[in-house]
Every structure is written in C-alpha cells, then in structure tokens.
C-alpha cells in the first residue's frame, strides 16, 4: 500500500506538472531580473503585455485546431493576407471600421475554406494548412511586390499604439479575448464539443455531436482570430510588410503547447495558453533586453519549441504511468 507521504509527493508532482508553465514563467522573470534589474520597470513589463497580445491571439487560433488533434500552420499567413486586403481597401477609400470588419471576414473565410477542405475532402490538416500558408504568404509577396504598405491612419493604429493614461490599450484586447475564450471553452456547447471531438471523434459522433460542423466551426474561429491578429499587428507596426508576422509562425504553436494544449487533442486550458504566451514573450523580450544578438533569435525560438515538445511528452508519459 502506498504511504501518505508518497501520495502527497505525487500530488505535488501532479500540480507541478499541470502548472509547469507558470513555474517557468516566474523563474524566467526572476532570472531576467537578476541579470538586469531594469527588467522590472513599468516600461518593459507593459511592453511584454503589448508584445504578447498578437502572440496570444495567434496561440488561441492555433489551439482551436490543436484541441481537435490537428494543426493549423496557416494562422500567420491568414493574418498577413487578411490585413493586406483590409489595408488596401482602406487605401482605396473604405472607412476604417469596415476595413477592420473586412480583415476579420477574410480571416474567417480562409478558415472556412480550410475547414471545408479538411472535413469534406478529408485532406490532412498539416499539409493542407501548410499549403494554404504558402499560398497566402506568396500572394502577399506577389501583391506587394516585396514593398511595405505603410502610413496607415492614426485611428487605425490606435488600438495597438494608443494609451489610456500611461496604460497601453493593446493588452486590454488580450484580456478581453482570453476572457471570451475562457467562456467559449468552458461554458458553451461548442467549446465542450470541441474538446469531445479532439478527445475521441468516434465517441463524440455516436453521442450525437455533429463532428464536421464542430471542426469547420473551429477552423472558422481560428481564421477569425488570425484575422484579428493581423489587424492588431499591422496597426502595431503601422505597416503591412512582405514578411508579415513570420516571427510568430512557430512561436504561437510553442506557446499553446508549453501552455499545456496537448498535441494529441482534447486537452488544454485557456489559462495555460495565456501562461505559455507570457512565458515566450518574457523570454523573447528578455533576450532583447539582455542584448542577445538578433542572429540568435531563431536558435532561441527553436530551442523553445524543443522545450515545449519535451514538456508535452513528459507530461503524457507521466500521466500514462500514473
């Protein structure tokens, strides 16, 4: 029989395993501060939240599909392409609010197309979204001919660059989006079905869930969020560049997985995604603050995903052995 002591140990280990992202976050903030005390300044901390917003929204976008047990590699491509369409129409005279709606709509439509191809034509999501990403980024490059579209109007940029007092507006968006998705994931039939389909598609079908509709829905939401991220990022940079958002491409997947969204589907929490997002942003900003050369950033990004996969794998192994 097991002693009480080992049982407590087990529980502690279990809690650590499930909250590993928050532990890592605290550790990295402390370590950064040790090397550079200016890390704790209001400027840098609020900068982390600002930087984390686009990443966080993309992380939810990709999580929607990882929860299904699939993957969406087209989030950044969707963000860039929909932002481009919106900005071009805006330059052509479309009012700003409508342009923003167009960006979201284009994102949603791309998601719908992804979902339709993956469910109705039974295409493999990995390859399909990879192809979609290349098409969208290729189109971005072709349309802009490699040039940057800049000089966007101030009211368009307000959401990402504006401040209320000394507080930047952008983290507010992050907060609202996470709150909304907290409710969707935990309190709605759509969210519950999403987890069910990712957990066991056949069981979900037999239980009366319209599996295809849920999958298509997830892709549409993923596209909408990608569009939103495109809007925020273009507003933040004040431009749409030909390599729009490329740095986020793998980071958003890493953020989701570090945050505990299981690559096998059916498992994850919105709070974890938030934690993963903040952790990656802290490391990213921290490396910059510490003066790590930008040529090392890709290496750092790769290592981060590596850590993410190992954490996910060891968590699964731990749970299987329990």
């Amino acid at each position: 029989m097991e002693t009480k002591n080992t049982k407590t140990k087990r529980n502690i280990l279990s809690i650590c395993m499930n909250n590993v992202v928050w532990i890592l976050l605290v550790v990295s903030i402390v370590v950064m501060g040790m090397f550079k005390s200016s890390f704790y300044s209001f400027g840098i901390l609020s900068n982390i939240l600002v930087q984390g917003t686009v990443l966080g929204i993309l992380a939810i976008a990709v999580s929607m599909i990882i929860l299904l047990g699939d993957i969406n590699l087209s989030t950044v491509g969707t963000a860039g392409f929909s932002a481009l369409i919106g900005v071009m129409l805006m330059e052509g005279g479309l009012p700003i609010p409508l342009a923003v709606l167009v960006i979201l709509a284009v994102g949603g439509l791309i998601g719908l197309l992804n979902g339709w191809i993956v469910t109705k034509l039974r295409a493999n999501a990995l390859i399909e979204t990879l192809a979609m990403n290349m098409v969208l980024q290729g189109a971005l490059l072709a349309i802009t001919k490699g040039n940057t579209i800049s000089q966007l109007p101030d009211s368009y940029k307000y959401i990402s660059q504006g401040k209320i007092g000394i507080f930047p507006v952008l983290p507010l968006v992050l907060f609202v989006v996470f709150l909304v998705f907290y409710f969707i994931w935990n309190k709605t039939a759509f969210g519950r079905s999403l987890f069910a389909v990712g957990g066991n598609e056949h069981s979900a079908y037999i239980a009366g869930i319209n599996v295809n509709a849920i999958k298509i829905g997830a892709f549409v939401v993923s596209g909408l969020l990608s569009g939103l991220a495109g809007y925020l990022l273009s507003a933040y940079m004040g431009a749409v560049t030909s390599s729009f958002g490329r740095t986020f491409e793998m980071q958003c997947i890493a953020a989701a997985v570090v945050g505990g969204v299981s690559l096998t589907g059916g498992k994850g929490s919105i709070l974890g995604v938030l934690g993963g997002t903040l952790l990656l942003t802290v490391i990213q900003v921290g490396l910059a603050v510490l003066g790590i050369p930008s040529t090392m950033i890709t290496l750092a990004g790769g290592l981060m995903i590596f850590v993410a996969v190992i954490i996910d794998a060891s968590r699964n192994m731990y749970q299987a052995g329990k």
């Binding site: 029989m1 097991e2 049982k7 087990r10 409710f183 309190k187 709605t188 039939a189 759509f190 519950r192 079905s193 987890f195 069910a196 957990g199 066991n200 056949h202 069981s203 979900a204 079908y205 037999i206 239980a207 009366g208 869930i209 319209n210 059916g266 498992k267 052995g321 329990k322």
Partner: protein, 503 residues
C-alpha cells in the same frame, strides 16, 4: 525441484502506481494441462498472462519455466523457451498468406537473402496437415473464417516451439460447432503434451475444457477444487465475490396494435435487404446473428451510423428521417456501442462531462450556446445514484473508473436523452457481473416506463433473461422470429445454427 512442473508461478504480485493488480499469486502448471483463469474484467487475468509472457515485469515474486527463473528474460526470449501468448484480438497479418503468417519473423532464406517460397509453403502445408487444419498455405489470411484464423494463431505458436500456449478469450463469435472444433483441436495438442492457459468468461465452456481452474478476483487467487464437479453457480459466486442477484424480468406477452411504437419497412443498407419488423412499447427485442448477418447492422442503421439506402422507419406512424446519430437522438433513439473505448468514452473527460454529451444542445441548452452546468451536474448525480456508478465524485476522470462503471456512464448518457428506443449492442461485454445486472435492471425499469429496447448480444444466457422476443438474422434478412417462451441456450443456438447451415 519438481521437473514435472512446466510453469511455476511463486507469490507473484503486481502494482500499477497506486493500484494493486495482483496479490501473491502462486500457480503450477504441468505439461499437457489446460488451466483456466476465470474472473471479471479488471480482476487481473490479463495482467497475469502478460507477466507470464514477459510483456511487463512483476513487482514481487518469481516465475520459473522448466525449472529456470525467467525473471530477466524478455518477451522474445520467453517465446524461444516456449511461452506463447495468443491475444484476444487476432494478431495475424490479414494481407499475408497463411504460410507467411506461420513463418513471420523467421522466414526461410534462399540464396542472396531472398525468401525461399517453395520451402516455406511446403513446410507450412505439412504443419497444417499435421495439426488438422485444412487450408492452403497460399491463401490470404483475410479470407479465412474466424475459426480457421484462430486455429492458425495456435499453429503459429506451435510452429515457434510453444510448450505453453496462453489463449485469451478465443471463443468469442464462434458457433457451438466451431467452438467444439476448436476445443477438439486444443485437446489434441494437449494430448501431445502442450499446456494451455485458457481465459474465457463463459463458465460453461471453462468447466468443460479445463483440468484446473483458478478464479481471480480483485487481484487475489481462488483455486477451484475438483473443477469437473464445480457448479456454474459456485463458479459465478467465486467470480463475483458476493451473491449477485440476477435481474429478472416479467415478460411482455401482449402485443396490441396500438402499442406499436416503431415500424421498420423494407430497410435496405449495408447487410440489410428489405428488412421489416415492428417494435412494441415497453418490450425488449433480442437480436441473434453472426457478424455480417445483419444483426449488428440493423442496430447501427436504426441509429444512423450506417446509411439507410431504402425503406422507412416509422415512429407511431410518422416517418423518421435519421441520417446521423444526431438525428437519431433527436428522434428518441439511443445507441450503446459494443466498443465503449472507441465509440463510447471521451477519455479526457470527467464522468459528468461524459454523461452530459448527448444533451448539450437539448436539455442543457441555455441562450447563446451556453450549457446549463448546474442541471448537467444534477443529471449526472441522479444517474450516479440510480445506476450505482462507483466513483469518488462526478468530477473524476472517466479513465479512473473500472470497465463496468465506465459502461454505466455510457448507459447514463444514452438514457439522459430520454429515448423512446434504446439500442444495446453487446452492452455487457467485458464488464463485471454486478455492473451487468445493474445495467440490465435499469433497462428493465425504463421499459416498464414505456421505453422500447433492442438488445444484441452473443451471451445467450443473458439474452434469454432479458428479451421478450427474439429475431434471428442471416444473410442480411430476418429468418426467424420467436417469442421467448420455453427457450434455452441450446434452443437458441440450434435455431441460429440451423439458419446458418441452411444455405
């Protein structure tokens, strides 16, 4: 050291994390003995045979094979010694030939490392003849009947030089005739000195075949003295561990026209040709039929899993459109699949979430797609009580429950949608006797309240206790309908085999 003992299991125990799966098991098996392991699912049978075969190590005790401690031998080395496990799920390669299946892993090589087909096929033919299996070595295994496939698995083991063959539930989905054939085959090998460990949950056949019986319950062993004289009653009490009150049902005998709830007219689809039948309020209709006969297909077509190509399903005279399980549930039809892992559970979900799944957008609907979480918990708690689901709380993960309790959760989910027709497809497969009876009696209660049920199982003892009427499927058609009056298991298998043989 007694050299007459082939396998000597001494005080073996095994724990997985916090659960103790086996406690202090000691069994000795001599050559030429058939030793049966009886027990409910989760009693430790599979764990024990997996330890013997070397799939995983024991946590305590020792195992000797022909006097040698096999502690440090892995599964392959144990196979070389002569211990072979023939698992429950057929482990042959369907797209290879019979000969290739026998020789897999040790294909005879000719020059240049190529396979020597001629030698292989000739040797295989010789072995097939020797063991009395009349099939061609070049036949694809996919085309074999299930009885031949099972025999082939045993021949494979013999080919590898097996001295001890472990058979994990080898008789499921066999006719009586085929089962007797398999037993004769096993007895032949036994005469030549091969020992068997036989796992089955049919008490009758265990009694018939075994020289020795050990019952496992909650990881503890209960040797059966004089197995030939042991009554089924005695055995089932040993297996269950306590007196299990078998559920009894008061038969429905009156079938009035106004009681007709469902009518199926000329249903055509996968393994169904113009099938018509009626279903009355409050009755349990038993279905008998082999795989591919249309029996299971009938269940799945009514629930919208299989496509309905023609014909119509009427509910109280009104035509139902069922194109998916979702449609079926909305129209008052529920289904419990024979495979609860694949088509029942969401392993990552709690008990509560698993129960709520079928009613998220009906009973639990709140505006804006929200779920009425409070009501969901209430419903789950109700079913936990009525079906006696054993868990610490409804927030336990479903995967932490025993098989029987998991199945109760699946049943709860189906009942939660308030079905008019509940289709049960092997609902008690691999679950303990107590859970089985609890599930059956709750279905009984529901039919008394007016629900109808279709019950498909290969356990005819159970079917005869449950069903009011039996229909027999063969070749995609209904070939016999009888009221469940003065029927026994032999009678059912006779009707079934008769219609099977009458091709």
């Amino acid at each position: 050291m007694n050299h007459n003992i082939l396998l000597d299991i001494r005080n073996v125990s095994k724990s997985f994390g916090t659960t103790q799966a086996l406690k202090d098991i000691s069994i000795q098996i001599k050559p030429g003995m058939i030793h049966s392991l009886l027990g409910r699912n989760g009693a430790g049978k599979s764990t024990l045979v997996n330890i013997i075969a070397g799939v995983y190590p024991q946590t305590g005790g020792e195992i000797f094979f022909e006097g040698q401690n096999i502690q440090n031998l892995n599964i392959f080395n144990r196979q070389k010694l002569g211990i072979r496990l023939v698992p429950q799920h057929e482990n042959s390669f369907p797209d290879l030939t019979v000969a290739e299946n026998i020789f897999v892993g040790m294909l005879p090589k000719a020059k240049a490392g190529l396979i020597d087909w001629k030698t292989m096929n000739e040797t295989a033919k010789k072995e097939l003849v020797e063991y009395g299996l009349n099939i061609e070595p070049t036949e694809m295994v996919r085309n074999l009947s299930s009885i031949d496939a099972r025999k082939l698995n045993i021949i494979r083991a013999m080919h590898g030089g097996a001295k001890l063959i472990i058979l994990d539930e080898p008789t499921t989905a066999l006719t009586n005739k085929e089962r007797n054939e398999l037993f004769a085959f096993i007895r032949n090998l036994k005469e030549e000195g091969t020992a068997f460990i036989f796992i089955s949950h049919y008490l009758g056949e265990v009694r018939e075949l075994s020289d020795e019986i050990t019952v496992l319950r909650d990881g503890c062993m209960y040797p059966v003295e004089n197995p030939k004289e042991a009554t089924e009653d005695h055995l089932s009490r040993l297996v269950a561990g306590e007196e299990v009150q078998l559920a009894r049902r008061k038969r429905k005998t009156e079938y009035a026209d106004q009681d007709k709830l469902f009518e199926c007219r000329n249903l055509t689809g996968k393994c169904l040709k113009n099938v018509s039948m009626d279903l009355y309020r409050g009755e349990i209709l038993g279905i008998v039929g082999f795989p591919g006969s249309g029996a299971r297909e009938m269940c799945r077509t009514l629930f919208g899993v299989n496509k309905l190509d023609g014909g119509e399903i009427l509910y109280q005279g009104k035509r139902l459109r069922i194109k998916s399980p979702k449609d079926a549930i909305r129209n008052g039809v529920a289904y419990i699949s024979f495979d609860r892992h694949r088509e029942g559970l969401i392993p990552q979900f709690t008990v509560n979430f698993n129960i709520g799944m079928s009613i998220l957008r009906s009973k639990l609907k709140y505006p804006f797609d929200f779920i009425n979480l409070k009501k969901e918990r209430g419903i789950s708690e109700d079913y936990r009580e009525t079906l006696k689901i054993k868990c610490n709380s409804i927030n336990d993960l479903i995967s932490s429950l025993s098989g029987g309790n998991q199945q109760k959760v699946v049943v709860s989910r189906s009942l939660a949608s308030d079905p008019q027709l509940l289709i049960l497809d092997e609902p008690t497969i691999g679950i303990d006797i107590k859970s089985r009876e609890e599930i059956i009696s709750s279905v009984n209660d529901m039919t008394r309240a007016g629900m109808s049920a279709i019950y498909y199982t290969n356990d005819y003892e159970e079917l005869l206790r449950v069903a009011d009427r039996l229909i027999f499927f063969k070749d995609s058609k209904i070939v016999a309908q009888v009221e469940n009056k003065d029927l026994n298991i032999v009678g059912v298998t006779e009707i079934r085999d008769q219609v099977k043989g009458a091709q």
